[in-house]
Symmetry: C2
Subunit: 304 residues, 2 copies
């Protein structure tokens, strides 16, 4: 199976603690790295996770709160000191480029590479990245400022050719691509060999959904239905539900309810409030509703 991994660089919330860094994750799809959010210290955690800067070309920022983007300046500077030449693409809600440009002009003179900003609206899903194996689509969220999650979806791979059957029917090489893409084969004698005899289906495309920060938003359920892995913020425990509503955050129980309603395969919770010395309370509350829940932690790596 092709690589599709998630690395947690930081899973704390706005107040950093000795236990957690601010929000940042890296998705590894076939050794291309995609960063989601870039809180202070993200570059340090990136190194600690033994990831390679040269494989990182795209950064997706969910919203313009400091704990999700204060690590960008340090990361951009470091890449410059390392003599990077490849363009770096930063995808974010509107406003980031105007804020960062004067800082970059001052602190990163003589840039060895280009930083390209791509800004999007957060109120409807938008495809913000696409290549031949992956799409990244925004997931509209509801927070105190414009905010969205990101859905990383593998594209369906072509079917696998069954070598023995293709040899048996003496299928010419130039027909193989059509057969991979689902067409039947007609022999010179006019016999139709159904595609299902010649191929076996490739693995189902996998999907990872990142949802942070947000008040509990059932509107996302259809878009994330059935994903292999859902990261959902669970800033607060039940006892702090009023505080969660007030600050536009989600409780662990609500994260479990979203995961259950969306029939996801696995739920990963994070963005923990600094008030919880022990996040097992959050794990327990979410697990009651949705047993397939795990706690995020720094340098955790999961297969999607």
């Amino acid at each position: 199976m092709e690589k599709f991994e998630l690395h947690i660089l930081g899973c704390g919330s706005a107040l950093p603690t000795t236990r957690h860094f601010a929000s940042s994750q890296v998705v590894n799809v076939r050794d291309k790295l995609y960063m989601i959010d870039c809180g202070e210290g993200a570059q340090l955690q990136f190194r600690k996770s033994r990831l390679k800067f040269s494989r990182l070309n795209h950064i997706f920022i969910s919203h313009l709160h400091g704990d999700h983007c204060f690590g960008l300046l340090g990361l951009i500077s470091t890449l410059n000191l390392l003599g990077r030449t490849a363009q770096l693409h930063i995808h974010s809600p509107k406003g980031l480029e105007d804020l960062l440009a004067p800082m970059l002009d001052f602190f990163c003179r003589q840039m060895t590479y280009k930083v390209l900003f791509h800004e999007f609206e957060t109120n409807t899903p938008v495809i913000v990245y696409e290549d031949r194996s992956l799409t990244v689509t925004t997931i509209p969220l509801r927070h105190r400022i414009p905010c969205c999650g990101f859905l990383f979806a593998e594209k369906q791979c072509p079917n696998h050719i069954i070598r023995e059957m293709v040899d048996f029917y003496k299928v010419p090489v130039y027909e193989l691509n059509k057969i991979k893409n689902g067409l039947d084969y007609t022999t010179p004698e006019g016999e139709v060999i159904p595609n299902s005899l010649l191929t076996r289906p490739s693995a189902l495309p996998r999907r990872y959904a990142y949802c942070s920060d947000t008040i509990c938003t059932p509107g996302i359920i259809e878009q994330i239905r059935g994903v292999d892995l859902l990261f959902h913020e669970a800033t607060f425990a039940d006892a702090n539900l009023p505080r969660a509503r007030e600050t536009y955050h989600t409780t662990a129980t609500q994260a479990g309810e979203i995961a259950k309603a969306a029939e996801v395969k696995k739920l990963l919770i994070g963005h923990f409030s600094a008030r919880y010395e022990d996040e097992n309370i959050l794990l327990e509350e979410a697990s009651i509703v949705f047993p397939e829940t795990v706690l995020a932690s720094e340098t955790l790596c999961l297969n999607v």
Copy 2:
């Protein structure tokens, strides 16, 4: 003895590694905390060192390179989330306020406290802070951009009264302050009791000098002569002397030579280039010239 400690929060150079954070230190003088430089992650290391944000009112920035100030935004935001009300003073070379103000306006709306910027020239020593027990003076350094170090100097305390002698001569209470400050006492009978009989001298005032980043600059020697503790950058080993000159940094040997010429009591070296997996090469080179050398490391705490 009153508290006068140095905490190392980060002692790496521009490229962060898994071993070192960017530059930041905290000087604790009688439980008032003074931060020197504030590289990315400084607030995390501050917490890890179990220091109290409420005791921090002054931050001194040596120069406007990212590895010495990218942690300011996160720290200022955190203090705001914590509901700080006391003013925070940031002392730096010219330009920092203009750079940070738009970011603070955007990311730290509804500030609970004021950040006051105090900007100075770096070409001559300036007293940038003074209270009844301490002065902080800039130390002009030579780097690629305007840069200075900082000299933390305790003020001489008044002499200690020798209780038994004062009682013996029946010195009235209202005379005690004058005696503490060095005056002799004249009895009602006209006998002059020399001050040296009535007091013993207080401890010698202690001094800490921070010198980073800089090309080797013998011009600083007179200003730092005899300090109790000198932090001097030692970015490179001897083998990289040309690189040190080119980038306006110092080698470990040169740091030792400065310490020796200035007759300091102890030398602490830091700002290590990321190329040294093991900094003992730097320690060895400095120690040959100046044996009383120690290596900086994260969360190290030294008495000045």
